[in-house]
Amino acid sequence: KKITQDKLEDIMFDLEMALLESDVAQGVVERIKNYIIKELEGAKVKRSSELEDVIEGALKKAIRQVLDIKSIDLIDSIRASEKPYVVMFVGVNGTGKTTAIGRIAHRLQREGISCVLAAGDTFRAGAIEQLTKHAENLGLKIIKHSAGADPAAVAYDAIEHAKARKKDVVLLDTAGRMQTNINLMDEMKKIRRIARPNLIVFVGDALAGNDAVIQASEFDKAVGVDGAILTKIDADAKGGAALSIAYTIGKPILYVGTGQGYEDLEPFDANWMIERLFE
């Protein structure tokens, strides 16, 4: 029997609410809904109980499509590139950039890749000390200037050091900044011009709701984001922001942060994300 338009609308609305409740942004939800409706137009459904299954199947396909962006294997990319390979970390305040650098450095070390840390946050209280602690914990060289110094100069220094000492990777920390602050966005552009990074990583907070889209899109417009890291997934965040960010910038989520330790960084897996959204 034919599924009534009303019944379909009700199911689609419930689905929409579920996605929004998982912090998937409005625009992405719209796109997923349209995809599912298209899939349903082709499908033959015998009874309404089947409809639920067909929709769930279509939903998983739709999410997979959003997340199916050519992924980057950081390790492979580093090995294939001329050294030093420069990774620049950007994002709004407090998302976990500095902590992510420690974790990426730890991963690279395990693969026998040498790293230099660059203390590019010269503004925030304790920022240089924080990254220095990570450098000490991991036995890594850190290039830093005094507080208030020009971040681009720190980046330049770190890259020159890496060239001189034949270090593979420079991990460049930058200060958190609001995409609404023109001066800070200009500062970030300048750091990029000087550092000429191989990879620009946007670090986003999984706890963020719809603002994740605006943040990611503005940072992408300003300096071009190559990939993202989503942190604080362990705070019970569903992680819908992963879809929002990936969809907005059309770039892959490289890793997710799952805690405080150096090991708490996992390569992003679309299946894992889909399971998580469906629990």
Binding site: L20, A125, M178, A208, G209, N210, A235, A237, A241
Partner: protein, 286 residues
Amino acid sequence: SLAQSLRGTLKKIANASNIDKDVIKDVVRDIQRALLQADLNVKLVLSITKEVERRALEEKPPAGMSSREHVIRIIYDQLVKILGEPRDVGLKKHVIMMIGLYGQGKTTTTAKMAKYFQKRGLKVGVIAADVHRPAAFDQLKQLGDRINVPVYGFPKAKDSVAVVKKGMEQYADFDIVIIDTSGRHSLEEDLIKEMEDIAKVAKPDERFLVIDAAVGQQAGPQAQAFHDAVKVTGVIITKLDGTAKAGGALSAVAVTNAPVTFIGTGEHIEDLEKLDPPRFISRLLG
């Protein structure tokens, strides 16, 4: 924005000769979408729209007001009621404990508040009770030095409760003691216990939940967990200088029933303001 998304469906009310259930259903769904886009908690959205639905069916728009303006007015009233009146923190002797999720702005706001009270002639002492985050003590000490406020703690500290105990003794004759604690979330049982232990030892008069304006659906549940553990007495919404609608923060206010005491509007010490409810709600509704 809410206003934009209502434009389409409320046209249907205007065109319908009598308000029928289907039209109301469409309107309610559009409102739900818009409020969710502003990061309001799903449960809160459902309770707001239930109320809107009831009033939209029972009330006639006041003279000169379109049904669209009327519905927006009903929503606006609901949100203002949930937000409540901001609360002034009294200029008397008391102990304030700062709590919240990771990276929300607790440490920065601790320094902002310390300056706020000091400017008003009170003797302020800060306790650096975050023993987990690398260089947490350095961060707070640098901020304290900048504004000439003493910070008690030490870089190699491992026992947060011990630091708080000693700090409280140190500042026994101060007017204001602010305790900055480490970030934590509801699933970390040991850290929730640490927070409860700090509260037992310090017996703070105020427990301020610091929440980032960008937090989404987790704001409500996390605020509930903090509230269940140590009873939140005030909410501080930070990073309002960004674009986030702060619907999550509003949800935190709703579950804790705690008024907003301050808002953070930037990274500098002076970027601490009082909440302006009409401005906050208009910004949320776009």
